[in-house]
Amino acid sequence: MNDFAHLLDRLAYEPRRNAKLRLLQDFFAGTPDPERGWALAAMTGGLTFREAKPALIRALVEERVDPVLFSLSHNYVGDLAETTALIWPGPDESPDASPSPRTRGEGRAPLGGSETSGSGGEGASKDKAHSESPPHPRLPPRSADDEVGTALSPQAGRGETPAIGHNNPPPSVPTLAEVVETLATTPKRALPQHLARWLDALDETGRWALLKLVTGNLRVGVSARLAKTAVGALGGHEADAVEEVWHGLKPPYTELFAWVEGRGERPESRNPAPFRPPMLSHPVEEFEDLDKLDPEAFSAEWKWDGIRVQLAGGRDNQGRQVQKIYSRTGEDISDAFPDLAEAITFEGAIDGELLILREGRVQSFNVLQQRLNRKAVTGKLLDEFPAHVRAYDVLSAEGEDLRGLPFAERRPRLEALVRRLDHARIDLSPLVPFTTWDDVAAARADPASVGAGADADAIEGVMLKRLNSAYLPGRPKGPWWKWKREPYVVDAVMMYAQRGHGKRSSFYSDYTFGCWREGAEGEELVPVGKAYHGFTDAELQKLDRYVRNHTTKRFGPVREVAYGRDAGLVLEIAFEGVQRSTRHKSGVAMRFPRVSRIRWDKPPAEADRVEVLERILARGEREVAPAAAMEASE
């Protein structure tokens, strides 16, 4: 557990992706099974157990530390796990923060708090925990995962020792395996006693990591993807190769490690509906990019403004249909879309765009987002925001892997599959007919004119796929291109700047900008968004110098710069759309804002007004109208 904790600690301070990767690889290479597998599970969100509530932790600390001092410390540090980790009395540490002399008067020497008071209340609770231990042996059948049970038992056994022999307790440092196992099986009442024992045994960093883990707040600045990349690298595999087998595996992933290290077979996917890493495209920056490409070698279709998903179906060994919806990154999102999942009656995998359709019309991304951000999937939500998939491609069908076929052969297979399904929730993304690149440019500029009809507003651009392209995971350069519609642009005034991360940590590279509106005291600038890319390194240097030379106030890492009618820097901001926002004072927020030009020349008084954004927002929301009208008529 301490090794894992120190890894997390180092990751937390490390801003560079490659350095994180190196740290992860070192850890995976140098840590035995099953410990590293549990660590991988912790970093990929694969652990489930009953989380400890903050109140429980607070109560544990207050048995050992004066509550007033603890509360002052918590106010200062701001984070319960970290405060507890720092303040928890170690075996050789001073008792000066312990509750008070009168408690000590009862012979509760804080140094030996856990053992000398064994005859008191705490001892009683331990005995109680003991009488509750019988459920433990019954665990393996319940967990239905023999691997987990057997892999864990030695650790679990070792971990129990101090609790049994608590008269003679050199606290043994728990393994991550022991912690995870115990949390999954311990009755709630015994949790405090286990936690206290672990906290006694761990060092400060270990305590911090443990508390983050048990409270379900283990955010370490490492994506699941990065962790999988590090695992794959142990044996020279790409992250996508790990993704391919991932969904059939369970913590602590011993088969996975055996495979990447060349000690075992590639794990057979026991998942009848596995995730297949999607194929991604490169952007067309300008029309001239297309000059090098032969239009006859390509097929074109709309790029819909929803979320890219994969529908996967198959039969398990009992012959039951398995229905999975995966996000682009392989996250299983089936539970969030039961209305769509039930449409997966086929065996195979479809790549497509998840959209909300009302009365056959594709709704804007704004509408889709209202469904995405909900925790509970209620009947009302399903009725108001019916999920559909517009199919782009087919990756496998009836047990046959189609990814090696050229697009020109996959497309008819997809059309046949969708036709056979004949399900209202799944339809085909139509092809866009064209002869020249000019035709494509015209379609992109005005999708309605080429058959997109009323759905034109939900089109993000055009996709170009080479007819002979196999379906390759990742973003290979050449076969697929995305040509997005022209973004919206506004001129806004820089108001605040913040330092960036990693290589940019010494540059002011994140800019909050505002537009004009009529305020209570006349014309004012209100923040409408924040952007941190779109400029070159050379421009960044100039922007950084500008911020430093025009700072008017500082708030920690944030600087306010001079802005107003006569002072300030105008940034041309490109963005994809506007949403309502409660976070911004202006009430609107942009999608994918970036700096498209720096208008050193433009007077700030001539920057755009918030109303420009409100008009774009209104246009997006009009598409909600059919449903709004429906509700009104009900």
């Binding site: 001092l69 540090v77 970290e82 001073s94 923060a97």
Partner: protein, 352 residues
């Protein structure tokens, strides 16, 4: 005891004042007669009439403010009793930085000790703290919360050396306060066997030279020349904290930013500053040492000057010791807000 502590020491606009001796201790504004505990800018300011301090502190003040920093200097020899007005005073080492001292004020068998800033942890660059038994102990509380338990400095310095081994191509830029912390880090690096040059930001140079003249061996400490910055692969470079995120540090090869401070104990603090390698090295007492020192002095009453007063005052209460916060302004910082990088760098060392 007919004489009350407040007859010996009281609080004025300028700071602590001894009416019977007609002098201030570490005044924050110019006064006629000042007794100075140590050379940090928040305690030692220019423009007083007479200054009584240890010879090292006087020399530090002369380096920082010029020879004319006051009208008359008077040297205090450690442990030597002196008559000032109607009281007797003596200085005792505080272990904070070179020349730092506690000031004991006595009259009619009563003794008040103003400790200034102090630490109990070993420091190769200054004399260790000495316990002076007293009736009233005036303490700082910069790290006056039980979450502050400073680790062994050797481990922290080793972290730095190990990082250089791991990233031999990257320069390691260590933020450290120019007086005391910087020289202590250098001395600790030498103790751990770092025998290559330690490169210094220009702001560190004069005080480091002074330390060397005072007999603290720090080895080779060249000043960083602007043109050479890009070639300092694997070098350890010391600079004021305000410079670690500055334009200045950018020219080094792929720099690793480290910061040597007691604040680095708290993750959010380190991250806020963009520190990648936090080094918990403090010149102040941690919580256990604050508590231990108060007990060691046997004081019946404790006044807390600056830092996290509330917690320490509360703790004194649980120990049956009378205590009050002085809420002294102008010392250190309120402990909540780090001095903003970029404002007067001399003030930064206050909250080291």
């Amino acid at each position: 005891m007919s004489q009350r502590a407040s007859d010996l020491l009281t609080l004025t606009r300028e700071g602590l004042y001894c009416p019977l001796g007609r002098f201030h201790v570490d005044p924050t504004r110019p006064v006629e007669r000042a007794l100075i505990t140590h050379g940090h800018a928040d305690h030692a300011r220019a423009g007083h009439g007479t200054v009584l301090a240890t010879p090292e502190t006087l020399r530090i003040m002369a380096v920082r403010y010029g020879e004319e920093f006051c009208r008359a200097r008077q040297e205090a020899r450690l442990g030597e009793r002196m008559r000032v007005g109607d009281v007797t005073v003596f200085f005792a080492p505080a272990g904070h930085v070179l020349g730092s001292a506690q000031i004991a004020i006595e009259r009619d068998g009563q003794r008040i000790v103003v400790s200034g800033d102090y630490k109990r942890a070993p420091d190769p660059t200054c004399l260790p703290f000495e316990v002076v038994p007293c009736d009233v102990f005036i303490t700082e509380a910069t790290f006056g919360l039980p979450v502050f338990r400073h680790p062994d400095t050797r481990g922290e310095v080793r972290k730095l050396i190990e990082s250089v081994t791991l990233f031999p191509e990257r320069a390691h830029i260590v933020g450290a306060y120019a007086l005391g912390k910087a020289q202590r880090v250098m001395a600790l690096l030498r103790e751990e066997g770092w025998d290559r040059p330690i490169h210094l930001h220009g702001a560190m140079e004069k005080l480091t030279e002074l330390y060397k003249r005072e007999g603290v061996p720090l080895g080779e400490t060249p000043k960083v020349v602007a043109a050479d910055r890009k070639d300092l692969h694997g070098a350890i470079v010391l600079c004021p904290p305000s410079s670690i995120q500055d334009l200045w540090s950018r020219k080094f090869p792929d720099p690793v930013t480290a910061f040597a401070s007691g604040w680095m104990r708290v993750r959010a603090r380190a991250r806020q500053k963009g520190v990648e390698l936090p080094l918990v090295i403090s010149d102040h007492s941690d919580w256990p040492d604050l508590c231990r020192t108060i007990r060691d002095t046997g004081a019946e009453e404790v006044w807390v000057t600056h830092g996290q007063e509330d917690a320490l005052v509360h703790w004194c209460g649980t120990q049956g010791i009378r205590a009050k916060p002085l809420h002294l302004l102008g010392y250190g910082d309120d402990g909540e807000a780090e001095p903003d990088p970029g404002h007067d760098p001399k003030m930064e060392e206050a909250s080291a």
